[in-house]
């Protein structure tokens, strides 16, 4: 076996490097653009309809003097989605704080609760109205999906919230929230990173952020260089994927028309009787699916190692 391969590392063998390369490329795009943005280059973001609605929603709530309800999704633990949602809610509660408008932030997960509690308090402090902040306005409701749904819709109905924000990971319960809020005529801004739930939000909510408009939100609202830069980086990556799809498709289309006398199995080329090209023979699919040939590597055995036996053998 080619010794050269042994020290490459399993994930880089054959075309394995491609995946790593792509990941690093995306990372590079993002970081580079963040740099550009920080360097004072002002970057363009197109208008995102759903996001202009946020101010309107809060304004409406303030007029009516009714609370704004926010749910940062049902993530199992705190992750970027929840953080992103809470960040948007920070923006919301800042405006709410200015107009002394009551807020309610319902958390599904204790870690998210901790983060939200801390973030929102900061918002009130930085607005210099720390006294207006009620720690109970950020609350942990339940971490069982439908208990949470029951609790939140109960809150919506009892508090008669004027504006509701559902941003983050939502699953089946999405429609429970949306319809309940709709039934009391609350103005709703919603978005789920779970694509399968978006149709229900579209059916029941006033404004829906589809797909990664959700991730674009904080950049769009705050125009923070870091966020804007990263957003541009993401766009570059999207363009790259689009190009890859178009070119790859064309390449495959051309290749698959032809015939081949070579076949590659387990990373080894071998001559075969002529046959028409299969999808798996194409350059692209070879690039995406590394075929690792079996390699034997001799290593010293650990002296105090006892070979594990199947129990009861």
């Amino acid at each position: 076996m080619p010794l050269s391969q042994v020290y490459i590392g399993d994930q880089y063998r054959d075309t394995g490097w491609f995946g790593v390369f792509m990941t690093l490329l995306v990372a590079a795009f993002v970081l580079l653009n963040i740099r550009r943005a920080r360097g004072g280059k002002d970057l363009y973001i197109r208008r995102i309809a759903g996001l202009n609605a946020i101010d309107e929603a809060i304004g409406r709530a303030t007029e009516m003097g009714k609370p704004v309800l926010m749910v940062p999704g049902l993530s199992d633990t705190i992750n970027a989605i929840a953080v992103q949602a809470v960040n948007i809610f920070a923006y919301v509660s800042r405006i709410a704080a200015r107009f002394a408008n009551p807020i309610l932030l319902c958390c599904y997960n204790a870690a998210v609760y901790t983060y939200a509690q801390e973030t929102i308090r900061d918002v009130y402090q930085s607005e210099g109205v720390a006294d207006r902040y009620d720690p109970d306005s950020v609350r942990f409701v339940s971490d069982r999906q439908f208990a949470f749904a029951a609790g939140v819709s109960g809150l919506i109905l009892r508090e008669q919230t004027a504006a509701t924000f559902f941003l983050g990971e939502f699953y089946a319960e999405s429609l429970i929230f949306a319809e309940t809020a709709n039934s009391i005529g609350a103005i709703q801004v919603a978005s789920s990173t779970e694509t399968t739930q978006t149709p229900f939000f579209i059916a029941a909510c006033d404004y829906v952020l589809i797909g990664d408009e959700f991730y674009a939100a904080s950049a769009y609202l705050t125009r923070q260089p870091v966020l804007v830069g990263s957003l541009v980086g993401q766009d570059w990556s999207k363009l790259m994927i689009i190009l890859m799809i178009i070119l790859g498709t064309l390449l495959n289309t051309v290749q698959i028309q032809g015939k081949t006398t070579w076949e590659r199995t387990k990373g080894v080329w071998s001559q075969i009787p002529e046959r028409s090209v299969k999808q798996s023979d194409t350059f692209m699919s070879q690039l995406f699916k590394p075929q690792l040939e079996k390699v034997k590597v001799e290593r010293p055995i650990d002296p105090n190692y006892v070979p594990e036996k199947g129990a009861g053998e």
Binding site: Q145, A172, T196, E308, G310, A311, G312
Partner: protein, 315 residues
Amino acid sequence: MKGNLGEKLQSLPKPILYLILILATSIPLFFPTEVPNEPVESTKDFYATLMALPEGSKVLLMSDWTGSTRGESKGAFRSIFKILIRRKAKVAIYSAADPQAPRVAQDAINELNMERKRKNLPTFDRWNDWVNIGYFPNAEAAINGIANDLKGAFGGRKDFPPNSPPRDVFQSPVLQGVTKVEDFPLMLVITASKTSNFAVERVSGRTPLAFAVTGVMVPETQVFYQSKQIVGYCGGLKGVYDLEQLMESGVNFPDKATGKIKSDKLGTIEGFPDPDNKGQGTRYYPTLHYALALMIIMIILGNVGMFLAKRGDKS
């Protein structure tokens, strides 16, 4: 609410809608009917796979459903176990989606056993016929671990032999001599959540996979089925209904000519006629039609209303 018929049609009060829906989903339940039905290929393959298991084979089952989806998943779970019990299979159950799942699965099996007791049938005993390996948080990592290092993943987990304190699951007859996931001739996944995707990512190609998924997941599962990453699946209530019919009449059984359910692809697969086969699927499926019909009618009504109203404005 005043206004012409159009506006009325457009704005039926919600309580009335809800009432109609309740009626549409209740009344048919009292009048069990047979609906014409042709089991879909995926379910036929699913059934064929189960029936092809040699008696006494070991099956790895990931049970990721809880009470919230019992309407669909419990039916599938029960049908699958009825078949597995017939195949005298030995089942290792674990869960990766929800801490409740192991308990729910356990209670469901106990329920089956209680029914079997009443009929004086041999029960499907814990430890000897099935073990509950328990819940693994972080589904993706857990399934990865099980695929790569089953011993390590299940190591230290305990279950209950009859009348003795819990012992290492690898001691049970179910996991005798099992060291890697390939030692199971089949891995079943009964799930209402994403965990099926992880199973495909990590296990497909190592050992045959068969799914029982909820209706919502049918589209994504169909993709795996077409790409042959899973051997078959039973999707939603339709899947359960298909499965129950297959249990009743098999495929090309007794022979292709007279068989109720035919298939060009599959050979003869026996069925085992038994009133007990009729479960949730048979009970719920006819009713589903009324509900769906109601939905369609309501959508049409709304639109008709809109047009009438528009005309009303014009005139």
